[in-house]
Amino acid sequence: MNVWIAIGLTVAGCYAVKLAGLLVPAGALERPAVRRLSALLPVALLAALTAQQTFSTGHDLVLDARAAGLAAAAVALLLRAPFLVVVAAAVVVTAGVRALGG
């Protein structure tokens, strides 16, 4: 049930902000402070989520094969690889390190 509550809220919230952008008169969201904050919020969230999902299990900070996978993804990004290759690099390297007992 908890999962459905979370899904319902996410569906409603995410659609509402998408629609708001298309419907709101341009001036309302054009204030520089609002624009700056909106550009920076995803940066903060994505950085925190990347770190958490790479370096934690539950409430514990851990360093395991996922770190190697993320490093591979970072290298792929620096080489300007396509999106799918970046994700595949992370998956393959993580699996490889685990197979080697890392």
Binding site: V3, K18, V24, Q53, V91, G96
Partner: protein, 237 residues
């Protein structure tokens, strides 16, 4: 007439501008590449204890990847539904600003907007903004949106169903797909010192509070890195 038909028809009506085939090729390239990563989402969702139906509902009705990954990640970590949804929502707020840009660029009829809104995401915005004229932008938005939506939903289903067949998703390294997706979305945003400062502070806050606060809350605290850095920057200049 559906959104896509209206948009495609209007795109076909005009002459001149960029060749339609070139726009369609670019749009399909993005739509297919990113659409296929719905498979990783389906597998991740299943690994997080989300049912096949729930995973599909998320892809069909939320349709903004980072928010979806964040939600199932937070639920897997034991977050309550409100903090989990709040993190997904804040990630989705950037789509409001994409919509603002797109509403001027595409100049959609009012009746079409509620439908088109569902497709306002990173990829459709990127393709539409890259076009030199309105007709190409509309075509790029529509083809990217349609191909990505269909493939993302389909591969989510396959991933969620396949997760059982795959067995231990961790052994296959699929738990690294979520963070890799986040990193791929984050990397192009790190343009100046401000962005990098926000990312660095958010990383420290997100990991620092993780052991001591309930799941989901550290990410919301990490989001405060954005206003904090803006405030510090305002004071120093």
């Amino acid at each position: 007439m559906g959104t896509e038909q209206v948009l495609i028809q209007e795109a076909l009506d005009g002459a001149g501008g960029r060749p339609r085939a070139a726009v369609v090729r670019d749009a399909l390239g993005v739509g297919v590449a990113v659409g296929l990563s719905g498979f990783a989402f389906g597998v991740t969702a299943a690994g997080a204890g989300v049912s096949v139906l729930q995973a599909c509902v998320l892809s069909l009705l939320v349709f903004t990847g980072a928010s979806q990954f964040a939600l199932v990640g937070a639920l897997a970590a034991g977050g309550n539904p409100f903090t989990a949804a709040a993190g997904a929502f804040f990630l989705g707020t950037r789509n409001a600003f994409y919509g603002l840009r797109l509403s001027q660029l595409l100049a959609l009829p009012k009746a079409v907007r509620p439908l088109a809104a569902h497709w306002v995401i990173d990829e459709t915005t990127a393709v539409a903004l890259a076009q030199p004229d309105r007709r190409s932008a509309r075509l790029g938005f529509t083809v990217t949106g349609l191909s990505l939506y269909l493939l993302w939903s389909l591969t989510t289903l396959l991933g969620a169903l396949g997760a059982e067949a795959i067995g231990d998703t961790a052994a296959w390294g699929l738990d690294a797909a979520g963070p890799a997706v986040f990193l791929a979305l984050l990397a192009p945003m790190l343009k100046s010192t401000t962005e990098r400062a926000v990312a660095g502070l958010a990383l420290v806050l997100g990991l620092g509070f993780l052991p001591v606060l309930p799941a989901g809350v550290p990410v919301l605290i990490a989001a405060l890195a954005a206003p904090a850095v803006l405030w510090l920057k305002g004071r120093s200049s």
